[in-house]
Protein backbone atom coordinates (compact mmCIF):
# COMPACT_ATOMS: atom_id res chain seq x y z
CA UNK A 1 0.00 0.00 0.00
CA UNK A 2 1.47 3.40 -0.94
CA UNK A 3 1.75 6.22 1.60
CA UNK A 4 -0.73 8.26 -0.42
CA UNK A 5 -3.34 5.51 -0.35
CA UNK A 6 -2.81 4.92 3.35
CA UNK A 7 -3.28 8.60 4.16
CA UNK A 8 -6.45 8.77 2.08
CA UNK A 9 -7.85 5.67 3.75
CA UNK A 10 -6.96 6.89 7.24
CA UNK A 11 -8.63 10.23 6.55
CA UNK A 12 -11.74 8.46 5.38
CA UNK A 13 -11.65 6.22 8.44
CA UNK A 14 -11.55 9.28 10.69
CA UNK A 15 -14.62 10.67 8.90
CA UNK A 16 -16.49 7.39 9.35
CA UNK A 17 -15.65 7.07 13.02
CA UNK A 18 -16.68 10.65 13.71
CA UNK A 19 -19.96 10.14 11.90
CA UNK A 20 -20.61 6.89 13.74
CA UNK A 21 -20.79 8.79 17.00
CA UNK A 22 -23.43 11.09 15.59
CA UNK A 23 -25.88 8.41 14.48
CA UNK A 24 -26.82 6.17 11.61
CA UNK A 25 -28.01 8.77 9.12
CA UNK A 26 -24.64 10.47 9.31
CA UNK A 27 -22.94 7.09 9.08
CA UNK A 28 -24.62 6.36 5.77
CA UNK A 29 -23.33 9.69 4.47
CA UNK A 30 -19.90 8.94 5.89
CA UNK A 31 -19.89 5.53 4.23
CA UNK A 32 -20.77 7.16 0.94
CA UNK A 33 -17.98 9.71 1.38
CA UNK A 34 -15.60 6.96 2.41
CA UNK A 35 -16.55 5.01 -0.67
CA UNK A 36 -15.77 7.94 -2.91
CA UNK A 37 -12.44 8.59 -1.17
CA UNK A 38 -11.55 4.89 -1.35
CA UNK A 39 -12.40 4.90 -5.04
CA UNK A 40 -10.23 7.93 -5.73
CA UNK A 41 -7.34 6.36 -3.80
CA UNK A 42 -7.58 3.29 -5.98
CA UNK A 43 -9.57 0.94 -3.74
CA UNK A 44 -12.01 0.33 -6.62
CA UNK A 45 -14.12 -2.61 -5.51
CA UNK A 46 -13.84 -1.67 -1.83
CA UNK A 47 -15.11 1.76 -2.75
CA UNK A 48 -18.07 0.28 -4.54
CA UNK A 49 -18.84 -1.94 -1.56
CA UNK A 50 -18.73 0.99 0.85
CA UNK A 51 -20.96 3.01 -1.44
CA UNK A 52 -23.33 0.07 -1.54
CA UNK A 53 -23.41 -0.02 2.25
CA UNK A 54 -24.36 3.65 2.34
CA UNK A 55 -27.11 3.13 -0.18
CA UNK A 56 -28.61 0.25 1.74
CA UNK A 57 -28.29 2.07 5.05
CA UNK A 58 -29.95 5.22 3.77
CA UNK A 59 -32.90 3.54 2.06
CA UNK A 60 -33.36 1.22 5.01
CA UNK A 61 -34.17 4.20 7.20
CA UNK A 62 -37.25 4.98 5.14
CA UNK A 63 -38.53 1.89 3.34
CA UNK A 64 -39.39 -1.44 4.96
CA UNK A 65 -38.72 -4.80 3.28
CA UNK A 66 -42.49 -5.18 3.00
CA UNK A 67 -42.75 -1.86 1.15
CA UNK A 68 -39.94 -2.91 -1.22
CA UNK A 69 -41.76 -6.15 -1.90
CA UNK A 70 -45.10 -4.60 -2.84
CA UNK A 71 -43.47 -1.97 -5.02
CA UNK A 72 -41.54 -4.75 -6.72
CA UNK A 73 -44.72 -6.74 -7.35
CA UNK A 74 -46.36 -3.86 -9.14
CA UNK A 75 -43.24 -3.16 -11.20
CA UNK A 76 -43.06 -6.83 -12.19
CA UNK A 77 -46.76 -6.90 -13.07
CA UNK A 78 -46.27 -3.86 -15.30
CA UNK A 79 -43.30 -5.39 -17.13
CA UNK A 80 -45.06 -8.74 -17.50
CA UNK A 81 -47.97 -7.04 -19.22
CA UNK A 82 -45.54 -6.65 -22.14
CA UNK A 83 -43.80 -10.03 -22.18
CA UNK A 84 -44.79 -13.67 -22.22
CA UNK A 85 -42.94 -16.07 -19.95
CA UNK A 86 -41.29 -19.35 -20.90
CA UNK A 87 -42.52 -22.49 -19.26
CA UNK A 88 -39.19 -24.31 -19.17
CA UNK A 89 -39.10 -26.08 -15.84
CA UNK A 90 -35.59 -27.48 -16.22
CA UNK A 91 -33.96 -24.16 -17.16
CA UNK A 92 -36.02 -22.27 -14.61
CA UNK A 93 -34.87 -24.54 -11.79
CA UNK A 94 -31.28 -24.20 -13.00
CA UNK A 95 -31.43 -20.38 -12.98
CA UNK A 96 -32.95 -20.38 -9.51
CA UNK A 97 -30.29 -22.72 -8.16
CA UNK A 98 -27.57 -20.43 -9.57
CA UNK A 99 -29.33 -17.52 -7.86
CA UNK A 100 -29.44 -19.37 -4.52
CA UNK A 101 -25.73 -20.14 -4.67
CA UNK A 102 -24.85 -16.52 -5.51
CA UNK A 103 -26.92 -15.28 -2.58
CA UNK A 104 -25.52 -17.66 0.00
CA UNK A 105 -22.47 -15.56 0.97
CA UNK A 106 -23.92 -12.20 -0.04
CA UNK A 107 -24.78 -9.39 2.37
CA UNK A 108 -28.51 -9.54 1.67
CA UNK A 109 -29.50 -13.14 0.95
CA UNK A 110 -33.07 -12.64 2.18
CA UNK A 111 -35.80 -10.43 0.86
CA UNK A 112 -39.33 -10.08 2.24
CA UNK A 113 -40.70 -12.85 0.01
CA UNK A 114 -37.49 -14.34 -1.32
CA UNK A 115 -35.87 -14.29 -4.76
CA UNK A 116 -37.34 -15.81 -7.90
CA UNK A 117 -35.90 -16.03 -11.42
CA UNK A 118 -38.20 -16.39 -14.43
CA UNK A 119 -37.45 -16.71 -18.12
CA UNK A 120 -39.08 -14.24 -20.52
CA UNK A 121 -40.11 -15.64 -23.87
CA UNK A 122 -38.36 -13.19 -26.17
CA UNK A 123 -35.26 -13.14 -28.35
CA UNK A 124 -34.56 -9.63 -27.11
CA UNK A 125 -31.36 -9.44 -25.07
CA UNK A 126 -32.63 -8.08 -21.78
CA UNK A 127 -33.16 -8.65 -18.07
CA UNK A 128 -35.07 -6.88 -15.30
CA UNK A 129 -35.06 -7.12 -11.55
CA UNK A 130 -37.41 -5.63 -8.98
CA UNK A 131 -37.14 -4.72 -5.31
CA UNK A 132 -39.52 -7.63 -4.70
CA UNK A 133 -36.81 -10.09 -5.73
CA UNK A 134 -38.31 -10.87 -9.16
CA UNK A 135 -35.50 -11.45 -11.67
CA UNK A 136 -36.74 -11.65 -15.26
CA UNK A 137 -34.19 -12.85 -17.82
CA UNK A 138 -34.91 -13.08 -21.54
CA UNK A 139 -34.32 -16.20 -23.59
CA UNK A 140 -32.20 -14.02 -25.89
CA UNK A 141 -29.88 -13.08 -23.03
CA UNK A 142 -29.58 -16.64 -21.75
CA UNK A 143 -28.65 -17.70 -25.27
CA UNK A 144 -25.58 -15.42 -25.10
CA UNK A 145 -24.09 -17.39 -22.20
CA UNK A 146 -21.34 -19.83 -23.06
CA UNK A 147 -21.05 -21.33 -19.58
CA UNK A 148 -22.77 -21.54 -16.22
CA UNK A 149 -20.33 -18.95 -14.93
CA UNK A 150 -21.40 -16.52 -17.68
CA UNK A 151 -25.04 -17.15 -16.78
CA UNK A 152 -24.14 -16.55 -13.14
CA UNK A 153 -22.74 -13.17 -14.21
CA UNK A 154 -26.16 -12.21 -15.60
CA UNK A 155 -28.03 -13.29 -12.48
CA UNK A 156 -25.42 -11.72 -10.20
CA UNK A 157 -25.74 -8.39 -12.00
CA UNK A 158 -29.51 -8.37 -11.43
CA UNK A 159 -29.09 -9.43 -7.79
CA UNK A 160 -26.67 -6.54 -7.37
CA UNK A 161 -29.17 -3.98 -8.67
CA UNK A 162 -31.69 -5.19 -6.07
CA UNK A 163 -29.20 -5.31 -3.20
CA UNK A 164 -28.04 -1.80 -4.09
CA UNK A 165 -31.72 -0.69 -4.21
CA UNK A 166 -31.22 1.04 -7.56
CA UNK A 167 -34.83 0.71 -8.66
CA UNK A 168 -36.12 2.31 -5.45
CA UNK A 169 -33.88 5.31 -6.01
CA UNK A 170 -35.79 6.02 -9.20
CA UNK A 171 -38.86 6.91 -7.14
CA UNK A 172 -39.23 10.64 -6.63
CA UNK A 173 -38.97 11.45 -2.92
CA UNK A 174 -42.19 13.46 -2.95
CA UNK A 175 -44.22 10.46 -4.09
CA UNK A 176 -42.88 8.34 -1.25
CA UNK A 177 -43.68 10.96 1.36
CA UNK A 178 -47.22 11.25 0.02
CA UNK A 179 -47.74 7.48 0.01
CA UNK A 180 -46.58 7.12 3.61
CA UNK A 181 -48.79 9.96 4.81
CA UNK A 182 -51.82 8.50 3.04
CA UNK A 183 -51.43 5.11 4.64
CA UNK A 184 -50.01 5.80 8.11
CA UNK A 185 -52.09 3.81 10.56
CA UNK A 186 -54.94 3.56 8.09
CA UNK A 187 -56.80 0.45 7.10
CA UNK A 188 -57.30 0.59 3.38
CA UNK A 189 -59.76 -1.23 1.27
CA UNK A 190 -60.03 -1.35 -2.47
CA UNK A 191 -63.72 -0.72 -1.95
CA UNK A 192 -63.01 2.76 -0.62
CA UNK A 193 -61.95 3.74 -4.12
CA UNK A 194 -58.97 5.65 -2.83
CA UNK A 195 -57.99 6.96 -6.24
CA UNK A 196 -55.52 9.47 -4.86
CA UNK A 197 -53.43 6.70 -3.30
CA UNK A 198 -53.70 4.60 -6.45
CA UNK A 199 -52.48 7.63 -8.42
CA UNK A 200 -49.51 8.11 -6.08
CA UNK A 201 -48.56 4.47 -6.32
CA UNK A 202 -49.06 4.57 -10.07
CA UNK A 203 -46.54 7.38 -10.17
CA UNK A 204 -44.07 5.42 -8.03
CA UNK A 205 -44.28 2.35 -10.22
CA UNK A 206 -44.11 4.52 -13.31
CA UNK A 207 -40.87 6.09 -12.08
CA UNK A 208 -39.28 2.66 -11.66
CA UNK A 209 -40.57 1.11 -14.88
CA UNK A 210 -39.54 4.14 -16.88
CA UNK A 211 -36.01 3.77 -15.61
CA UNK A 212 -35.90 0.00 -16.15
CA UNK A 213 -37.43 -0.09 -19.61
CA UNK A 214 -36.72 3.27 -21.20
CA UNK A 215 -33.86 5.17 -19.64
CA UNK A 216 -31.85 2.52 -17.87
CA UNK A 217 -29.86 3.06 -14.72
CA UNK A 218 -27.04 5.59 -14.68
CA UNK A 219 -23.62 4.46 -15.87
CA UNK A 220 -22.38 4.74 -12.32
CA UNK A 221 -25.16 2.42 -11.08
CA UNK A 222 -24.45 -0.09 -13.85
CA UNK A 223 -20.76 -0.10 -13.00
CA UNK A 224 -21.58 -0.50 -9.29
CA UNK A 225 -23.81 -3.46 -10.14
CA UNK A 226 -21.05 -5.04 -12.24
CA UNK A 227 -18.54 -4.54 -9.41
CA UNK A 228 -20.82 -6.10 -6.81
CA UNK A 229 -21.72 -8.91 -9.21
CA UNK A 230 -18.05 -9.81 -9.58
CA UNK A 231 -17.78 -10.09 -5.79
CA UNK A 232 -20.95 -12.22 -5.59
CA UNK A 233 -19.55 -14.53 -8.25
CA UNK A 234 -16.14 -14.88 -6.63
CA UNK A 235 -17.64 -15.52 -3.18
CA UNK A 236 -19.85 -18.23 -4.64
CA UNK A 237 -16.94 -19.92 -6.40
CA UNK A 238 -17.77 -18.78 -9.94
CA UNK A 239 -15.04 -17.34 -12.15
CA UNK A 240 -15.68 -13.57 -12.21
CA UNK A 241 -13.81 -13.33 -15.52
CA UNK A 242 -16.83 -15.00 -17.09
CA UNK A 243 -18.57 -11.63 -16.94
CA UNK A 244 -16.11 -10.25 -19.46
CA UNK A 245 -16.71 -13.14 -21.84
CA UNK A 246 -20.47 -12.68 -21.47
CA UNK A 247 -20.20 -8.98 -22.31
CA UNK A 248 -18.07 -9.77 -25.35
CA UNK A 249 -20.66 -12.22 -26.61
CA UNK A 250 -23.43 -9.70 -26.09
CA UNK A 251 -21.40 -7.16 -28.05
CA UNK A 252 -20.88 -9.60 -30.90
CA UNK A 253 -24.64 -10.17 -31.16
CA UNK A 254 -25.59 -6.50 -31.10
CA UNK A 255 -25.63 -6.08 -34.90
CA UNK A 256 -26.37 -2.39 -34.54
CA UNK A 257 -29.41 -3.01 -32.33
CA UNK A 258 -30.52 -0.24 -29.99
CA UNK A 259 -33.26 -2.29 -28.38
CA UNK A 260 -33.55 -3.76 -24.92
CA UNK A 261 -30.26 -4.12 -23.12
CA UNK A 262 -28.42 -2.13 -25.76
CA UNK A 263 -30.61 0.91 -25.12
CA UNK A 264 -30.63 0.84 -21.34
CA UNK A 265 -27.03 -0.04 -20.51
CA UNK A 266 -23.59 1.48 -21.12
CA UNK A 267 -21.92 -0.03 -24.19
CA UNK A 268 -20.38 -3.48 -23.75
CA UNK A 269 -16.95 -1.91 -24.37
CA UNK A 270 -17.43 0.55 -21.49
CA UNK A 271 -18.58 -2.23 -19.18
CA UNK A 272 -15.72 -4.52 -20.24
CA UNK A 273 -13.21 -1.78 -19.42
CA UNK A 274 -14.81 -1.25 -16.01
CA UNK A 275 -14.97 -4.99 -15.32
CA UNK A 276 -11.32 -5.50 -16.28
CA UNK A 277 -10.37 -2.77 -13.85
CA UNK A 278 -12.26 -4.49 -11.03
CA UNK A 279 -11.13 -8.01 -11.90
CA UNK A 280 -7.55 -7.17 -11.00
CA UNK A 281 -8.62 -6.46 -7.42
CA UNK A 282 -10.76 -9.52 -6.73
CA UNK A 283 -9.25 -12.77 -5.47
CA UNK A 284 -10.01 -15.52 -7.97
CA UNK A 285 -11.53 -18.75 -6.71
CA UNK A 286 -10.07 -22.07 -7.75
CA UNK A 287 -10.99 -23.01 -11.30
CA UNK A 288 -13.74 -25.63 -11.04
CA UNK A 289 -15.58 -24.84 -14.28
CA UNK A 290 -15.25 -28.36 -15.62
CA UNK A 291 -17.67 -29.60 -12.93
CA UNK A 292 -20.43 -27.37 -14.31
CA UNK A 293 -20.03 -27.95 -18.06
CA UNK A 294 -22.32 -30.92 -18.44
CA UNK A 295 -25.22 -29.53 -16.43
CA UNK A 296 -24.98 -26.21 -18.27
CA UNK A 297 -25.28 -27.97 -21.63
CA UNK A 298 -28.21 -30.03 -20.38
CA UNK A 299 -30.05 -27.02 -18.96
CA UNK A 300 -29.71 -24.91 -22.10
CA UNK A 301 -30.48 -27.65 -24.58
CA UNK A 302 -32.96 -26.33 -27.07
CA UNK A 303 -33.13 -22.83 -25.61
CA UNK A 304 -32.24 -21.07 -28.84
CA UNK A 305 -35.01 -22.97 -30.60
CA UNK A 306 -37.36 -22.04 -27.73
CA UNK A 307 -38.21 -25.63 -26.84
CA UNK A 308 -40.20 -25.85 -23.65
CA UNK A 309 -40.01 -29.02 -21.53
Amino acid sequence: MTVKKFRAFAAAAFVAVSAAWTGCSSLSSALSTMGEIADDAGFGVAGAALGAGAAISKAGEEITPENEYYIGRSVAATILANYDVCESERLEEYLNLICAVLLEESDKPELFAGWHVKLLDTDEVNAFSTSGGHILVSRGLVGCAGSEDALAAVVAHEIAHVQLQHSLKAIKASRWTTALKRTAGAGLSAATGDTELADTLDGMVGDVVSQLVNNGYSKSQEFQADALALTLMANAGYDPAAMESMLKEMKSRQNGSKAGFYRTHPTPDERIENVRDSLGKIPRPKDTKKWRKKRFAAALEGIEANDAD
Binding site: A11, A16, T64, A113, L180, M204, N235, A236
Partner: protein
Protein backbone atom coordinates in the same frame (compact mmCIF):
# COMPACT_ATOMS: atom_id res chain seq x y z
CA UNK B 1 1.60 12.74 11.94
CA UNK B 2 2.28 9.01 12.02
CA UNK B 3 0.51 8.73 15.38
CA UNK B 4 -2.57 10.53 14.06
CA UNK B 5 -2.88 8.19 11.12
CA UNK B 6 -2.25 5.16 13.32
CA UNK B 7 -4.98 6.33 15.71
CA UNK B 8 -7.38 6.91 12.84
CA UNK B 9 -6.67 3.50 11.40
CA UNK B 10 -7.16 1.88 14.83
CA UNK B 11 -10.47 3.71 15.30
CA UNK B 12 -11.55 2.59 11.87
CA UNK B 13 -10.65 -0.99 12.74
CA UNK B 14 -12.78 -0.78 15.89
CA UNK B 15 -15.69 0.67 13.91
CA UNK B 16 -15.52 -2.05 11.32
CA UNK B 17 -15.15 -4.74 13.98
CA UNK B 18 -18.32 -3.48 15.62
CA UNK B 19 -20.03 -3.33 12.25
CA UNK B 20 -18.95 -6.88 11.37
CA UNK B 21 -21.43 -8.53 13.78
CA UNK B 22 -24.47 -6.24 13.65
CA UNK B 23 -26.24 -7.82 16.63
CA UNK B 24 -25.34 -8.81 20.17
CA UNK B 25 -26.00 -11.85 22.33
CA UNK B 26 -29.20 -11.46 24.31
CA UNK B 27 -30.60 -8.81 21.97
CA UNK B 28 -34.28 -9.04 20.97
CA UNK B 29 -34.89 -8.73 17.24
CA UNK B 30 -37.85 -9.14 14.91
CA UNK B 31 -38.26 -11.09 11.70
CA UNK B 32 -38.52 -8.64 8.82
CA UNK B 33 -39.32 -11.10 6.04
CA UNK B 34 -42.47 -13.08 5.29
CA UNK B 35 -40.86 -16.34 6.37
CA UNK B 36 -37.30 -16.88 7.61
CA UNK B 37 -36.03 -20.41 7.27
CA UNK B 38 -33.88 -21.82 10.06
CA UNK B 39 -30.78 -23.19 8.39
CA UNK B 40 -30.82 -26.57 10.05
CA UNK B 41 -34.28 -27.16 8.66
CA UNK B 42 -35.99 -27.20 12.05
CA UNK B 43 -38.65 -24.74 11.04
CA UNK B 44 -39.44 -21.21 9.99
CA UNK B 45 -40.04 -17.92 11.73
CA UNK B 46 -42.99 -15.79 10.68
CA UNK B 47 -43.12 -12.10 9.86
CA UNK B 48 -42.82 -9.99 12.99
CA UNK B 49 -41.83 -12.86 15.28
CA UNK B 50 -39.65 -11.80 18.21
CA UNK B 51 -36.37 -13.67 18.57
CA UNK B 52 -33.48 -13.52 21.03
CA UNK B 53 -29.88 -13.75 19.87
CA UNK B 54 -27.92 -16.64 21.34
CA UNK B 55 -24.84 -16.14 19.18
CA UNK B 56 -24.18 -13.19 16.89
CA UNK B 57 -22.29 -13.68 13.63
CA UNK B 58 -21.27 -11.45 10.78
CA UNK B 59 -23.80 -12.82 8.30
CA UNK B 60 -25.98 -15.12 10.42
CA UNK B 61 -27.05 -15.35 14.02
CA UNK B 62 -28.19 -18.21 16.22
CA UNK B 63 -31.58 -17.22 17.63
CA UNK B 64 -34.54 -18.70 19.44
CA UNK B 65 -38.12 -17.50 19.22
CA UNK B 66 -38.92 -15.52 22.35
CA UNK B 67 -42.37 -17.03 22.83
CA UNK B 68 -41.40 -20.53 21.68
CA UNK B 69 -37.80 -21.12 22.85
CA UNK B 70 -37.74 -24.60 21.34
CA UNK B 71 -37.84 -22.99 17.89
CA UNK B 72 -34.19 -22.23 17.44
CA UNK B 73 -31.55 -22.11 14.73
CA UNK B 74 -29.28 -20.03 12.54
CA UNK B 75 -30.95 -17.35 10.44
CA UNK B 76 -29.62 -14.76 8.04
CA UNK B 77 -29.01 -11.34 9.64
CA UNK B 78 -30.76 -9.77 6.66
CA UNK B 79 -34.01 -11.33 7.87
CA UNK B 80 -33.88 -9.53 11.20
CA UNK B 81 -34.50 -5.97 12.34
CA UNK B 82 -34.12 -4.15 15.63
CA UNK B 83 -37.45 -2.40 15.08
CA UNK B 84 -40.53 -4.06 16.51
CA UNK B 85 -43.00 -4.99 13.82
CA UNK B 86 -46.62 -4.41 14.72
CA UNK B 87 -49.01 -6.42 12.60
CA UNK B 88 -52.45 -5.03 11.82
CA UNK B 89 -54.82 -5.93 14.60
CA UNK B 90 -51.91 -6.31 17.02
CA UNK B 91 -51.76 -5.05 20.55
CA UNK B 92 -51.16 -1.39 21.36
CA UNK B 93 -47.53 -0.49 21.87
CA UNK B 94 -46.33 2.48 23.80
CA UNK B 95 -42.69 2.63 22.83
CA UNK B 96 -40.97 5.34 20.84
CA UNK B 97 -42.32 5.46 17.28
CA UNK B 98 -38.81 5.18 15.83
CA UNK B 99 -38.58 1.68 17.24
CA UNK B 100 -41.69 0.44 15.51
CA UNK B 101 -42.46 -0.64 12.00
CA UNK B 102 -46.16 -0.66 11.26
CA UNK B 103 -46.75 -3.59 8.96
CA UNK B 104 -48.96 -2.45 6.18
CA UNK B 105 -47.76 1.15 6.30
CA UNK B 106 -46.90 2.53 2.90
CA UNK B 107 -47.05 0.14 0.00
CA UNK B 108 -48.92 -2.91 1.32
CA UNK B 109 -51.34 -5.59 0.16
CA UNK B 110 -54.21 -3.19 0.66
CA UNK B 111 -52.43 -0.50 -1.31
CA UNK B 112 -51.73 -3.01 -4.07
CA UNK B 113 -55.43 -3.90 -4.22
CA UNK B 114 -56.29 -0.24 -4.73
CA UNK B 115 -53.64 -0.04 -7.44
CA UNK B 116 -54.87 -3.19 -9.18
CA UNK B 117 -58.42 -1.91 -9.16
CA UNK B 118 -57.26 1.16 -11.06
CA UNK B 119 -54.95 -0.74 -13.46
CA UNK B 120 -56.77 -3.79 -14.70
CA UNK B 121 -54.34 -4.67 -17.48
CA UNK B 122 -51.39 -5.51 -15.24
CA UNK B 123 -50.30 -9.13 -14.89
CA UNK B 124 -50.31 -9.90 -11.19
CA UNK B 125 -51.31 -13.52 -11.84
CA UNK B 126 -47.93 -14.22 -13.41
CA UNK B 127 -46.23 -12.40 -10.53
CA UNK B 128 -48.00 -14.75 -8.11
CA UNK B 129 -46.89 -17.70 -10.23
CA UNK B 130 -43.29 -16.47 -10.22
CA UNK B 131 -43.35 -16.15 -6.44
CA UNK B 132 -44.24 -19.81 -6.14
CA UNK B 133 -40.86 -20.68 -7.66
CA UNK B 134 -38.48 -21.84 -4.96
CA UNK B 135 -35.48 -24.05 -4.38
CA UNK B 136 -34.93 -25.82 -1.10
CA UNK B 137 -31.74 -25.18 0.91
CA UNK B 138 -30.96 -28.89 0.47
CA UNK B 139 -31.25 -28.67 -3.33
CA UNK B 140 -29.07 -25.55 -3.35
CA UNK B 141 -26.44 -27.28 -1.21
CA UNK B 142 -26.36 -30.29 -3.51
CA UNK B 143 -26.16 -28.04 -6.57
CA UNK B 144 -23.22 -26.15 -5.06
CA UNK B 145 -21.40 -29.32 -4.11
CA UNK B 146 -21.90 -30.94 -7.50
CA UNK B 147 -20.55 -27.83 -9.18
CA UNK B 148 -17.64 -27.51 -6.74
CA UNK B 149 -18.96 -24.12 -5.67
CA UNK B 150 -19.11 -22.60 -2.18
CA UNK B 151 -19.08 -24.99 0.73
CA UNK B 152 -22.35 -24.50 2.52
CA UNK B 153 -22.08 -25.26 6.23
CA UNK B 154 -25.08 -26.91 7.84
CA UNK B 155 -25.65 -24.43 10.62
CA UNK B 156 -23.79 -21.25 9.85
Amino acid sequence: MKRIFAAAAFAAALTFAAAAAPFKKGQTLYVSVKSAELRDGSGTLGYGAAVVVDEAGEKRSLVHERDRPSVSGWVSNGSLTKKRIVLSGGAMVDTDCDEIVLAGKGFSEEAENAYRAANGDLDFDTVDEIERISVSPKAAREFAEAGRLLIMEDAK
